[in-house]
């Protein structure tokens, strides 16, 4: 088998070129990609586990591996070793420990044994953005919270688009009573108040399972796929009436062939322009739910939870400031990208007449 290089339509390539020329959007894209990569390797940057331990001539890389107990490194306890203490204990010996730049984990109490209270940024200790009201490092919570939001929104996009595209496409293509039935069902469905369902579900879920990312995702998706069907239904309907589809029908093409080879490639290309806005929507939705307390269960790191802490501890402004700035910056980047994509993909240039 010959490996075929991705054969991009020159028009698509031109769109990418145009996107690159829109500076603001392209720079935003590069920054956001950088942030995404950082969040993917968060364990190497912000973590209470050491990157490398050199102990008795052996190398240890504890970041992704199994737990090492204190006894493994000659400390007198059976639970997981505290690498910051280990580093202090190794001082002056042959052994050494290399800690990540921010040596804290998002759910640990960084001032064990001390009172719970927010502490302002402390560069010497590596709490660059301070700690929250139960002594957790804010930078760590932001980074891991960002990662959760990303996982949430990618799954959200995947699922809503899958359901919305499939159903919308079928409705648009087959029309008739099927279309009518599904349309009425969707109307009824979208009248169910979403927030109440979340509250009810949150209260009936057995405590053993608890609200988690996947249940939350399921609920949000259940109430969000409908908007996609509207777009896909009308786009499919429009494409179906175009002559290239008629031409395929005259040639005797089967229905799956027409849908997958002709209609979908033409309708999906526009979807790219929606994605950034969907991402922004998903991140805001998750943050809002967390803020209201119906989102991810504690101690999961999340921006909404941090915002809530911040607003109830206004005497510790660093909490609300960091959470708020993070949210604004990310949403702004995503919106810039979205605008640039729309401009690059929209065949109508921004023309005015005298």
């Amino acid at each position: 088998m010959k490996l075929r290089l991705p054969h991009l339509n020159p028009l698509t390539r031109k769109k990418f070129r145009r996107f690159r020329q829109i500076r603001r959007g392209y720079v935003a894209f590069l920054i956001l990609s950088g942030l995404v990569v950082l969040s993917l390797v968060a364990e190497l940057l912000v973590n209470n586990r050491a990157l490398v331990v050199r102990y008795e001539g052996q190398w240890f890389f504890p970041t992704y591996g199994a737990i090492h107990t204190g006894r493994d490194f000659g400390l007198p306890y059976e639970y997981e070793v505290n690498y910051r203490d280990l580093k202090a204990a190794f001082a002056g010996t042959d052994h050494w420990v290399l800690l990540p730049p921010v040596p804290y984990n998002p759910i640990e109490n960084c001032y064990r044994g001390e009172t719970f209270r927010p502490r302002p940024p402390d560069w010497a200790k590596g709490h660059y953005l301070g700690t929250d009201q139960i002594n957790r490092d804010i930078l760590a919570r932001l980074l891991y919270g960002f990662r959760n939001a990303l996982i949430f929104s990618s799954c959200f996009i995947g699922l809503t688009y899958l359901i919305g595209i499939t159903l919308g496409c079928l409705m648009g293509y087959f029309g008739g009573w099927f279309d009518l039935l599904v349309q009425r069902l969707i109307e009824i469905w979208s009248n169910i108040p979403f927030l109440f369902v979340v509250i009810i579900v949150a209260s009936v879920i057995p405590t053993g399972i608890g609200m988690n990312l996947w249940i939350l995702l399921g609920i949000v998706v259940l109430f969000s796929w409908t908007s996609m069907t509207y777009y896909m239904r009308s786009a499919t309907y429009r494409e179906k009436a175009r002559d290239y589809v008629h031409a395929a029908q005259v040639l005797g093409a089967s229905t799956p062939r027409i849908i997958f080879l002709h209609i979908l490639p033409n309708t999906l290309s526009t979807l790219v322009t929606f994605i950034p806005f969907t991402v922004a929507g998903a991140i805001s939705a998750l943050t809002a739910l967390d803020f209201l307390g119906f989102g991810l269960p504690p101690p999961t790191p999340s921006w909404g939870e941090l915002l809530r802490q911040g607003t109830s501890n206004l005497s510790a402004p660093w909490i609300v400031a960091s959470a708020f700035s993070a949210l604004v910056i990310v949403l702004m980047l995503v919106t810039f990208i979205g605008e640039a994509i729309r401009e690059a993909f929209d065949p109508k240039k921004f023309t005015t007449y005298q």
Partner: protein, 685 residues
């Protein structure tokens, strides 16, 4: 007209240069164009798409799209005032008052959310009066003047409630509201049917007579030019190729391009199915124009010197040409002389000459036999979408197509031509009737059982942009029928695609490219290659050349005729242009409101039309011959809706010969006179 020579021109354009800034750099769309129009005169600008006609019009009106378009040089003098130097505010006062514009697409020229009375009043309020009541009164008066029935009522309606022809009348009313000195009409009738076009042209002429304005008429239709204009400017790739009085241009065309254009149009008067003269190649793109004469890549008389810009030479007092070799060209073959000859032939009493061979001898089995075909679309209303009425798009059609024969199908927009074509290739499922194709009735067949028959039954579409999937390569598009019918292996299909490309006159490297990289004519060739890939027997051609330029149209018609001869194809050729249909067809059916009103061999229909509608249709076609401006039979009103067709003869609402009987009784298609001549009218007119 000699008296006009003395009057100074009201509008004069001198060395106009207009550029556009695009991705590909700065393009000069209009390059040194000059002309002048006198009061009460009509100047035609003719040329193929992209040659700068519309940009010239927009430059005169200062309506260029911003920020890309700019007038770089030259003058536009309106009564001696240079419009290019005016401020936008001053220009606004002139537009609508002293200069009016009529656009091609009346719907886009009107605002859909305001009543037409309000839009028209707006013009008066801007330029004439402060009083709203007075403005409305003037508007109603203007609507009456452009021939809109019950104008008081119509003034309260919205653009979408009017038909295309009515809308164009409203646009004309707006352009003429303030009795401008100059009206610029950019393809004013291109979006309209021939009979409506005849109404609009008639209206423009009578208004010009009354108001004495100068008209700049932009069109690609040489027939309209010959019919309407006093002077003509022929444009090519942004420059003037030739300019002069209309009779001179048509009788003694002195530029190779003008000659090519005049020779390549199919004429009603010319013999059928002949190879049309063509202009080879295409208009060069503005991004890479040749230096020197811009026509050189298509010109049969080109020599070395043509690489330098040809000067504008006077061949006659008012007749100028930009060509180095005007003097050396052979004397023009006067197409209109042939035409006169043919007209004389036609006048002589003659028996039916061209009965197709198939119909004459012992009749072989028809390839396609359409019997009582109906396509009634349900018109859905209310929340439950119950069908209350039916749209009788096709209402009882009988038609046969013999092997190797071309049936032409002519009619105005909405008469059901396309629907009939779509029923035959089963894109629509007919509601009644039979479609016997090679002995099998196709109507009851389902998708699967129909598939083997589809190999022999193909279609070519009107819009070459719409009918090709922009995301597939040309090779994939042409190979698709072979893939669907599981013919051959990949290597064989690859060879076959190259064979087909060669057959339709496209380069072999086209296979790897995408449709958007090709011009309209080339894309239509791709569509043709796809249609003939399965070696069909019948091809339904739905307006295959309507979207193409004149010079490209003749190339595609030649290709279709050539393929027919080579492969023994039958065509069902659908078009609204009778001259084109007559050129390719053996027999012609005229459709009106879902029915065939006349059916006869192509020559007979043209020489001896029996049905009043056919006669009006033929007389409404503007002939490219300024010496024989014929009396048009102008049909009143619009085509009625097929949802509520008129009783009796459906044509009675517009027929000049209608009687009470016509309103009551429905005429049947009956034989009349010549062999195979059928007509559906109660009377022998």
């Amino acid at each position: 007209m000699p008296e006009s020579a003395a009057t100074p021109p009201v509008l004069e354009v001198r060395d106009l240069v207009t550029t556009f800034d695009t991705d590909a750099g700065r393009l000069t769309a209009v390059d040194g164009v000059s002309f002048a129009v006198g009061r009460g005169r009509t100047l035609g600008i003719v040329g193929e798409s992209g040659c700068g006609k519309s940009v010239t019009a927009l430059s005169i009106m200062r309506l260029l799209p911003q920020p890309m378009g700019r007038i770089q040089g030259g003058q536009v003098l309106l009564d001696g005032v240079d419009l290019t130097q005016l401020s936008p505010a001053e220009m606004q006062r002139i537009r609508g008052d002293r200069m009016g514009m009529i656009f091609q697409e009346p719907m886009t020229a009107l605002n859909p959310v305001h009543t037409i009375g309000r839009q028209l009043s707006e013009v008066f309020l801007l330029h004439r009066t402060r009083d709203k009541r007075e403005a409305l009164r003037l508007s109603v008066e203007m609507l009456a003047k452009v021939g809109i029935p019950s104008p008081e009522i119509r003034a309260g309606e919205y653009p979408h409630q009017l038909s295309g022809g009515m809308r164009q009348r409203v646009v004309i009313a707006m352009a003429l509201a303030c009795r401008p000195d100059v009206v610029i009409a950019d393809e004013p009738t291109t979006a309209l049917d021939v009979t409506i076009q005849a109404q609009i042209l008639e209206l423009m002429q009578s208004l010009q007579h009354e108001l004495g304005m100068a008209i700049v008429l932009i069109t690609h239709d040489l027939g309209v030019i010959a019919d309407m204009c006093d002077d003509v400017v022929v444009m090519y790739a942004g420059r003037i190729a030739e300019a002069g009085p209309v009779q001179r241009i048509f009788a003694a065309p002195s530029h190779p391009y003008t000659r090519g254009l005049l020779n390549s149009i199919p004429r009603l008067t010319n013999p059928r199915k002949q190879r049309l003269n063509t202009i080879e190649g295409m208009v060069p793109s503005l991004a890479d124009l040749p230096t020197g004469c811009r026509f050189q890549n298509r010109c049969p008389w080109r020599t070395e010197i043509c690489a330098t810009q040809p000067p504008l030479i006077h061949v006659d007092e008012a007749h100028t040409v930009a060509c180095h070799h005007t003097k050396d060209l052979p004397p023009p073959v006067d197409e209109s002389v042939n035409a006169h000859q043919a007209r004389a032939d036609a006048a002589a009493p003659q028996a039916a000459v061209a009965v197709p061979a198939a119909a004459a001898g012992s009749t072989p089995a028809p390839l396609l036999d359409v019997q009582d075909l109906c396509m009634h679309f349900p018109v859905k209303e209310g929340i439950f979408q119950r069908a209350k009425h039916a749209c009788r798009a096709v209402d009882g059609i009988n038609l046969t197509v013999m092997p190797g024969e071309t049936i032409g199908l002519v009619g105005e927009s909405g008469c059901g031509k396309s629907t009939l074509g779509k029923c035959i290739v089963r894109l629509n499922h007919p509601t009644a009737g039979r479609l016997i194709f090679e002995g099998t009735d196709l109507v009851p067949l389902r998708q699967r059982t129909l598939k083997p028959h589809r190999r022999h039954l193909q279609m070519i579409f009107q819009d070459p942009v719409e009918s090709l999937n922009a995301r597939h390569t040309v090779g994939d598009i042409i190979a698709e029928p072979l893939v669907i019918h599981r013919l051959g292996d990949a290597a064989w299909r690859h060879r076959r695609v190259h064979e087909l490309l060669a057959k339709v006159g496209l380069p072999a490297n086209a296979a790897e490219r995408y449709p958007f990289e090709f011009s309209g004519g080339q894309r239509q060739r791709i569509g043709i290659a796809r249609a003939i890939a399965l070696e069909p027997k019948l091809i339904v051609c739905d307006e295959p050349v309507s979207a193409l330029d004149v010079s490209i149209q003749s190339q595609v018609l030649n290709l279709l005729l050539e393929l027919q001869r080579e492969m023994g194809l039958s065509y069902l050729f659908i078009a609204h242009n009778l001259a084109v249909v007559k050129h390719v067809s053996d027999r012609i059916a005229i459709m009106y409101l879902g029915r065939i009103v006349e059916f006869a061999s192509a020559d007979v229909i043209y020489r001896n039309p029996r049905h009043p509608y056919t006669r009006a249709l033929i007389s409404a076609i503007p002939q490219p011959d300024p010496l024989h401006r014929q009396q048009r039979i102008v049909l009143q009103g619009d085509v009625p809706s097929p949802i509520h067709p008129p009783s009796g003869c459906t044509f009675h609402t517009r027929c000049p010969h209608a009687t009470d009987r016509c309103r009551r009784e429905t005429p049947v298609l009956r034989s009349a006179g010549d062999t195979g001549h059928q007509v559906s009218c109660h009377y022998d007119l």
